[in-house]
Symmetry: C2
Subunit: 178 residues, 2 copies
DNA sequence: GTAGACATGTAACGCGTTACATGATTGT
DNA sequence: ACAATCATGTAACGCGTTACATGTCTAC
């Protein structure tokens, strides 16, 4: 039930094809969300049937496969707004490595330190990607308005930046304790 | 493939019944992991077949249903250690509210502030629960040894504490920006 | 007598992941 | 010739969630 709103969140900003949506999810927001084409295409069709999106037209560029461009409808925007304001239960932090950390007492300290350093490095990479992304987005930001979609994107990526720093810090503390 | 290791992580510390495992997961570690009985019982049976756990015995207390106590085997402990040290891809931060934040530009600021305050309160509750848990665990900690399973549990819960603080802080910043 | 904890399971459903299928064009 | 990108889809599988089924005992 959530992928639906992920698609709507993107379509609320601009008309897109199924392929575009998949790209934006997996390339730009890979570390946050991911979708497979098996989810995108059927879900778009389903939402079209429910009147949440509609086919804006089929773009046919020379020597290129046809692109089916979808746009959000009034009803789709309303559904998205309602979902955004809806309350729900808090999510779990389901990170496998946290479960692995639960077993540090079992394993060889030397090898665990190696793993922790590797994890830290991976989070450092993500951090760098997020920071680059924010810098890029800030140049696009003309108004300091909270109604600007780019400002919303920056806020989300900033969460990511803080999260990665927290993770790296936690790894450091664990390494010291080993 | 991950629930299996969650069960083994608990069984590596003490023999437990399926019911115990479910309770520990959902009560103590609810915000981190959760399992249903449908996953616990069949998985235990499967792991018994594979020799990762074995039935220690059936505890029959007066006027109580029989409890099937499982203990981890040598092979189970080895599998758990191997998994703990294994590399893998980084997890995604799949939190629905982050996706909702992506749509703040669409919604009424007043109502969004209300939602943000609600979310903050929920995370504050979790934070309090984590802090209580750590205080409780620290009294159980006799040795300052990294080989103590309780120290490992504390480290994981401490991640939770830092995460909840980060989330609350992020909510505050969003509220100010609205 | 009715609700809730204890205890073990099964059934049904939906979501997400990986892989497959098709087909054109561009670059090496 | 071969791989990669663009573009739309389908199939198969596994995991996780909710709900159901069964039965005893304790507390109100």
């Amino acid at each position: 039930m959530s992928i639906r709103y992920a698609l709507l969140s993107l379509l609320a900003r601009e008309p897109l094809s199924g392929y575009d949506i998949k790209q934006q999810m997996n390339d730009r927001f890979g570390p946050f969300w991911k979708v497979g084409s098996n989810q995108v295409y059927p879900e778009l069709a389903k939402m079209e049937g429910e009147g949440l999106v509609k086919l804006q037209g089929i773009e046919q560029q020379a020597n290129r496969p046809a692109r089916k461009l979808y746009e959000i409808t009034e009803a789709g925007r309303d559904a998205l707004i309602q979902w955004t304001l809806e309350s729900g239960e808090l999510e779990r932090i389901r990170d496998d490595f946290l479960l692995k950390a639960y077993n540090i007492w079992l394993v060889d300290p030397e090898r665990m330190i190696g793993r922790l350093e590797e994890i830290k490095r991976q989070h450092e990479e993500r951090l760098a990607a997020y920071e680059k992304k924010v810098a890029e987005l800030e140049t696009m930001l003309t108004t300091a308005d909270s109604r600007d979609p780019i400002a919303a994107t920056i806020s989300v990526v900033e969460f990511g930046i803080r999260y990665e720093r927290l993770y790296m810090d936690w790894c450091d503390r664990l390494i010291k304790k080993m």
